[in-house]
Point group: C2
Chain length 349, copies 2
């Protein structure tokens, strides 16, 4: 390995001078600068990032803790983080799928001394104490948090508002018996979307009915599985709100297998607006969430808070979730030809 010492020797200067050249110090003669650069090029010298950050205690790296990396949503979040990070000349170290709090803590521990700050998405409430411990060591930005952590900025998605808008769309189309495919138990997003669903029902003078709340798991397979359960309900619902698009995809496929037609026999709405939603058959009415922006904002917030001279007071951002009306909910319940509702935005959570 070529070190700063080799370059110094080769250029006939001290290591301090080499360091100065590479860090853009102005107090270097043109002559020295030239010979240092020449030597570095000759030797193909690459500075050792680890050593550098040991002295500066700046790593120019941010950690990312996610529950999983599966599917459009997480990949878009990471993409957003990566994009914003690169623009600010930051790298990211990613760690996901922690079986339990202990494993998550181990990952964070490992990052100690390798990152300047952390972006964490922790859907599990039991990890609050762990996050607090982590947040006492470096700046932490929380994504869609279930809990408050003193001093941590948060960025969330308007799960409640988005779900409410989707279900309101269904009630306005005349549907009275609307089922929901819930997300996995204990998941914040799932719970908030369920709340939004229930609120929209109440807003329409309907009573939430536990029988209509089907257990899902955010997966296509899960959505597919729910279909039979759905079809056994009596009287049969006329509409379904799937708490995410993957479940809607699975459900619609199962309905097709059962020779049921969407939206004629069932209105179906989803959540997330995954890339293929608009290309589905029929195109899926869903709630758009900008996962990439979630990541981007988090990265920017983190960099801001790391570069702040004193610990800034935390901010809490909620990204809007907008209803996107396509075809899968049809125009009106039970085939009656009511006016088709227009696309509308739901601004808050």
């Amino acid at each position: 390995m070529v070190t700063i010492r080799d370059v110094a020797r080769n250029a006939g200067v001290s290591i301090a001078t080499v360091s100065r050249v590479f860090n853009g110090s102005s107090h270097v003669s043109a002559e020295s600068s030239r010979s240092v650069r020449a030597a570095a090029k000759r030797l193909d010298y690459w500075p050792h990032g680890g050593a550098r950050s040991l002295t500066t205690s700046l790593t120019h790296t941010m950690g990312v803790l996610l529950p999983d990396l599966f599917g459009d949503f997480f990949s878009e979040v990471i993409r957003g983080i990566d994009r914003a990070a690169r623009e600010q000349h930051f790298q990211i170290v990613v760690s996901s799928s922690h079986a339990d709090t202990e494993e998550m803590l181990a990952a964070a521990r490992f990052m100690q001394g390798r990152i300047d700050g952390l972006i964490a998405m922790v859907p599990d409430k039991g990890s609050a104490a762990a996050i607090r411990r982590i947040a006492s060591r470096f700046p932490v930005i929380l994504l869609n948090p279930r809990f408050e952590v003193a001093g941590c900025s948060t960025i969330s998605i308007a799960n409640f508002g988005g779900a409410r808008a989707a279900v309101e769309h269904l009630t306005q189309l005349g549907h009275r018996r609307i089922a929901i495919l819930k997300g996995p138990g204990g998941n914040v997003d799932a719970e908030e979307r369920l709340r939004g669903y229930q609120q929209a029902l109440r807003d329409a003078g309907l009573q939430p009915d536990p029988e209509l709340e089907l257990e899902g798991d955010f997966s296509q397979v899960g959505g597919h599985r729910c279909a039979s359960e759905l079809l056994q309900l009596a009287p049969r619902p006329t509409a379904v709100f799937a708490a995410n698009d993957y479940m809607a995809v699975g459900l619609m496929s199962a309905l097709r297998d059962a020779h049921l037609e969407v939206p004629r026999d069932f209105a179906v709405a989803g959540f997330d607006d995954i890339a293929i939603a608009r290309y589905m058959n029929p195109p899926l009415t869903t709630v758009r969430v900008d996962a990439q922006e979630l990541g981007q904002r988090a990265a920017l917030a983190l960099i801001t808070s790391m570069q702040a001279p004193s610990k800034p007071s935390p901010t809490h951002t909620v990204l809007p979730a907008a209803l996107v009306v396509r075809v899968s909910c049809g125009s009106a319940a039970n085939g009656s030809r009511a006016a088709r509702s227009r696309p509308r935005l739901s601004a808050g959570g």
Copy 2:
């Protein structure tokens, strides 16, 4: 920040002893060990990873260089890497979307001293020299490479064989005029799949026709856009092989808009077997590629090569791509009711 020195002082021992306790050295008395652990707990001591790896010159981290992070494929690759890495107690630092070779090189340079090895996916041939430079500093595993780099192990996907199998499926169904939606120019995967398509045609005694090779870009929008071009071809093709599933999705959506039915009016085959392929309407016949395994194998290969006492000779693995027959290609060309071909595997590249 609590350092090893604080723990030593608090426990009444030297820093060497603290270090020994944390590194599981046997030459420590039970008494010392106990008091060190107690002190560490009291102070909530977390070792500084960067400092540790400076002395050991082991970072327990691997770098990942990808062209992008968009879509199912890359997210599954990262997921596979992350999974295998965690099992071996490795972390990953990710960097993607490098506009040019210079930017990619900068990312690798930045990683110097922070990683033990690198997994790189570089679809651009012009980066060969850069990769060679990188590979001279630490072990590099190449994913789907376009070029050879001395000493680098590679893991690829059977693009050629998979595409050939898909198109062979179409010819066996009786199709004679088969178009292809090509991937972006300069992309290895795209080029290999095109080669496979052409070979399958020749195998069936058909002459590849440039007119039938439509320019695509691996995106849904691109697939959608190709539809009109496709429909203007005279005589009109009866089948289309899309070089990836996203384009197939966009194409099928456009065909639907044009009141054309798949597979009745067009047989459509894709490549990748993305998560929703089986749930599409109609379910998509495609070529399955295990992106996660690609990542997993790469991580394992990297760890193996890093831990080898001497530089091991490079290996070149090709992951099979298996044809998955669903509905989108129908049973026989032009509505004739030929026997439906069975799912079959294509083993090689």
